[in-house]
C-alpha cells in the first residue's frame, strides 16, 4: 500500500511555531508522502512561510504542496513558494512530480484552482471583462491541471488542489458561497485521466468525502474538516493498475 498523508488550511502565522512538529515527528511511521492542499499561511507573508518552512525542513517524508487563496493575499506568493522550496518542499502550480515508493511511481499533479461554481449553476465566460477574467482564471487552472496530468508518467495518480472540483465535499458550507469554493471545470481532467485520488482544502465547514461524476475519490483535507493535523489515505497500486487495464479494454 502507498500511504499519502494529507492536510490543508494550516493557516500558519508567526504565532504558529511548533504546531506541526508533533505530527511531523513520526510521520514516516504512518505515511510515505505528505501532501499540503493550500492556505499554508494566513496572509501569504514570507515571515509566516518561514515558520512553516522551519518545521517542514525536518519532515521525514517528501512534502508536496499547492498554495491557496490565503497564500496570495499580500501578493508575495512567489516568495512564499521559494521559502517552502528552500526547506525541501515541492510547490506545484500546473506542474507535477513523481516519487518512487517501494518501486511504485507515485505521481502528483497540483494546481491551486479557483472558483466558478458547479455543473448546472456555473459562471460563464460571458459579459463584463471582470466576469470573463474570473472564469478564465478557472479555465486556465483546469487546462494546466490537464496538461500536468498528461505529462505525468506514474503508476498511481494523485491530484492536489486548494479549490474543490465537486460540490459534495462542500456540504456544510452556505450554498451561496459555492461559486467561491470551487469549480466543476477542475473535475473534468480528474475523470479524463482516471486519477486515483483527488485532494483539496479551502472549505472548512465542508465534508471530507465525495467523488467526481466519473468516480474519482475526492477528499476535503482542510484540517478543520479532519479535526486532526493530517489524515492518511492508503492506495493499492495493483487496484489502480487493474482500473487502467479495464479502461484500456473498454476503450479498445
Amino acid at each position: 500500500m502507498i500511504r499519502i498523508a494529507a492536510a490543508g488550511d494550516l493557516h500558519y502565522g508567526v504565532d504558529s511555531a511548533g504546531r506541526m512538529r508533533p505530527a511531523l515527528a513520526d510521520l514516516d511511521d504512518h505515511a510515505d508522502i505528505l501532501c499540503l492542499a493550500g492556505d499554508l499561511t494566513t496572509r501569504g507573508r514570507p515571515e509566516e512561510a518561514e515558520v512553516l518552512a522551519r518545521e517542514l525542513a525536518d519532515a521525514p517524508v517528501p512534502v508536496v504542496a499547492v498554495l491557496g487563496n490565503h497564500d496570495y493575499h499580500t501578493d508575495q506568493q512567489q516568495e512564499v513558494t521559494e521559502i517552502l522550496e528552500r526547506a525541501g518542499a515541492r510547490v506545484l502550480e500546473g506542474t507535477s512530480l513523481v516519487h518512487e515508493v517501494n518501486g511504485v511511481r507515485v505521481g502528483i499533479a497540483g494546481v491551486k484552482g479557483f472558483g466558478g461554481g458547479f455543473a448546472g449553476a456555473s459562471g460563464s465566460e460571458f459579459g463584463e471583462p471582470e466576469m470573463k477574467l474570473f472564469m478564465r482564471v478557472t479555465i486556465d487552472a483546469a487546462n494546466r491541471l490537464d496538461a500536468a496530468l498528461t505529462e505525468m508518467d506514474a503508476d498511481l495518480k494523485i491530484a492536489l488542489m486548494h479549490f474543490s472540483p465537486i460540490p459534495e465535499t462542500l456540504e456544510g458550507e452556505p450554498l451561496e458561497i459555492y461559486p467561491f469554493l470551487g469549480s466543476y471545470l477542475l473535475a473534468e481532467p480528474l475523470d479524463k485521466h482516471r486519477v486515483d485520488l483527488a485532494l483539496h482544502g479551502h472549505a472548512h465547514r465542508g465534508d471530507e468525502h465525495g467523488e467526481t461524476p466519473g468516480g474519482v475519490p475526492v477528499r476535503n483535507v482542510a484540517q478543520h474538516v479532519l479535526e486532526a493535523p493530517y489524515k492518511v489515505y492508503s492506495l493499492d497500486p495493483e487496484n489502480a493498475e487493474r482500473r487502467d487495464r479495464s479502461d484500456a479494454t473498454i476503450g479498445s
Partner: protein
Amino acid sequence: MIEEYTVEAIRRALARDPRVGELELDVEVDEEAIRVTGTLPTEQRRDAVTEVLEERFPNHRVENATAVLSPEAPPDEEVVG
C-alpha cells in the same frame, strides 16, 4: 445598522485584521451581543477575535465560542482504493 449588514461588517473585520485573518468564521448578532463560532489554528488568534471585536464594536458584548485545532490529534487512516 441593519443586522445583516452588521454581520458582514464583523466578518470583514475578522478577515481583514492581520491579528485574525480568517474568512470562515460564523457570526450571529443581535442588539446586545456578537457570537462567533468556528475553528482557529492557534490560541493567540482565538484571543484576537475577542480583541478585534471589542475594539471595533464596543457597544456589543462579544461571545467568542471559537475552537482551536488540536496539533496532537492521532492520525486517522482510510483505504481509498
